[in-house]
Amino acid sequence: MSILEIKNLTVTFHTKDKITRAVHNISLSVEEQDSIGIVGESGSGKSTLAMAILQLLPKRIARIEGEVILDGKHLFQCTDEQIRKIRWRDLAVVFQKSMNALSPVHKIGTQMSDIYRIHESKISKKKLKEKIISLLEMVNLPSRVYDLYPHELSGGMMQRVSIALSLMHNPKLLILDEATTALDVVTQGQILSEIKELEKELNLTRIMITHDMSVVASACKKVAVMYAGNILEFGYVKDVLVNPLHPYTQGLLKSIPTFKGEKKNIRGIAGALPDLSVPVQGCIFASRCEFATDICYQVKPTEELLSGNHRVACHLVGGMEHANVNHS
């Protein structure tokens, strides 16, 4: 059963002098207890997608089209009041810059209690404190954190606080937006494994936004590769990473050095993300794609569904020659 259904979601930002199409006609469905990684370059619209689901985009400049159905509720049709109720109970989020995720001038315990009470106001002070401390302990933090200020914690600890905060009401869906990016490897490894464990315990469904392939590789079941507001490839991690079909995915993987074996030459993808305020006719990746043909510049590729729910949006998929040429 899918817990989250995104249908033809498009987000455009209308600023003074231009219109930026940050998310373009994305459809995605998330099954219960799934863990989906969304990878892509900076500016490809990952955060915008998450913020659109959370209904946190600035109303004045962001136009949203499409549908997002969370647990049967059409989010875009909810009133502000209803959305506020859904937030954190059904849908929680952990942001990247966890150092700044909480107010620097309030104690952690105070803020957590405050947030808890938004959805659960009938709890005694003492119980609440116990609850918060147990949350902290769940993410391996000592109870003294309750009385500390954000700046007194290290990055890793703050990230754990953020995670504890997000798990407060056992949300149905947890979105981690670059939640481990700022951490060093050791801490990141620890937190990832902690999350995976908690997930088993709490029946969480998780969307994980990152630009680090290896994080997806180690912590997600499925992966969506985003580029300039579009999902170019989607499928099980083991399919997509082992057998990438889209030239962009292939390029990404080729730009990452290996750990084992001989040192293969790596190389990046030439060019940069296109200007999102200029509408593109054909494939959005065409301008950087080394295999692009005329059709790529003219016609937008449709999504191909391959075996194992592996989906790709590329004119060249099916032929596969290009990939082989390159692999030799």
Binding site: S154, V185, S214, V237, L252, P257, R267
Partner: protein, 330 residues
């Protein structure tokens, strides 16, 4: 081979660098922050040393000390056999040309009010490179095109915010190379960049080092990148190098328990399915109240009583591989 290399031939040699910061708060009076706590190493011309280690272990501090953006509390650095202290005293500008640094955040490396041309030309002026404005401008164009930014005139009059991170980092590297340094410190030069651009920047750095025979200290916490670029690696923990040696030797045959944990924790794409993560307990400690024993002991999965008392010496286990742990074979 190794014994034949004399100190003079070393591009840079570093001995017993210490850097203690004074703590200003009243609670922790008289307790210094031991950011770098006795680091020694040397580099040949054109050699790249990767420095890895978790956040806060003193990598950046070490980097800054190497290029004299900060003074060490004690210890000495010599470049080409000459103490950098003397070099700097004699001619600070010349020293700056000798040792350069590339910073982590390309988006903040340039004054937001300077165009790229102004950035480069003011650097040239400062170091008396080129004679006239026109000559310098021509050099800029040349430089940018060499660095893969074509056509250069496209970029010259742009402001930093009008360029992508990759382009900025290229320019940052190009600016350093403009001064033809002997020695470069690259402090996490790609960690803020997209994966798709990182490769090019790393290649560019590696190429330059080989071409100009520049020695480089490459600071990173990314194991695979470090493996890719560096000839040797040094693993730092709490201000010390706990393990050092040729890259593949250290990476594939890690000896120090910390190195092992570090490597096992950094997930790699080519082995993501059957990864055995070594957990190390606790938080990364702050370099303030370091006990008398091994500094990794409190978090070490194989620590024993003696570790808490004896600070282990660095021992050579062959092939230029040094480890500061007496229990490596167990």
């Amino acid at each position: 081979m190794q014994t034949l290399i004399t100190a003079e031939e070393k591009a840079i040699s570093v001995e017993n660098i210490y850097k203690y910061y004074k703590q200003r708060g009243k609670r922790q009076r008289n307790q210094d922050i031991k950011s770098v706590d006795g680091v020694s190493f040397s580099l040949n011309k054109g050699e790249i040393l990767g420095v890895i280690g978790e956040s806060g272990c003193g990598k950046s501090t070490l980097g800054r000390i190497l290029v004299k953006l900060e003074e060490p509390t004690s210890g000495s650095i010599s470049i080409n056999g000459v103490p950098s202290q003397n070099l700097f005293k004699q001619d600070p500008l010349a020293f700056r040309r000798t040792a350069q640094m590339i910073f982590q955040n390309p988006f903040d490396t340039f004054d937001p009010r300077y165009t790229i041309a102004k950035v480069l030309i003011s650097t040239m002026k400062l170091h008396h490179i080129g004679e006239s404005k026109n000559e310098r401008l021509a050099m800029c164009i040349d430089l940018l095109e060499k660095g893969g930014l074509k056509p250069a005139t496209e970029y010259l009059h742009r402001y930093p915010h009008e360029l992508s991170g990759g382009q900025l980092q290229r320019i940052s590297i190009l600016r350093s190379m403009l001064l033809e340094p002997m020695f470069v410190v690259a402090d996490e030069p790609v960690s803020m960049l997209d994966v798709s651009i990182r490769a090019d920047i790393i290649n560019m750095l590696a190429d330059l080092c080989k071409r100009e025979n520049t020695a480089m200290v490459f600071i990173s916490h990314d194991i695979t990148t470090t493996r890719y670029i560096s000839d040797r690696v040094a693993v730092m923990y709490l201000g010390r190098i706990v393990e050092t040696g040729p890259t593949d030797e250290v990476m594939h045959n890690p000896q120090h328990p910390y190195t092992r944990a570090l490597i096992s924790n950094s997930v790699q794409l080519d082995s993501f399915e059957n990864q055995q993560i070594i957990h190390i307990a606790g938080e990364p400690p702050t370099p303030i109240n370091i006990g008398p024993g091994c500094r990794f002991a409190p978090r070490c999965y194989q620590s024993r009583e003696s570790c808490n008392h004896e600070d282990p010496e660095s021992t050579h286990i062959g092939n230029g591989h040094y480890v500061s742990c007496p229990y490596i074979n167990e």
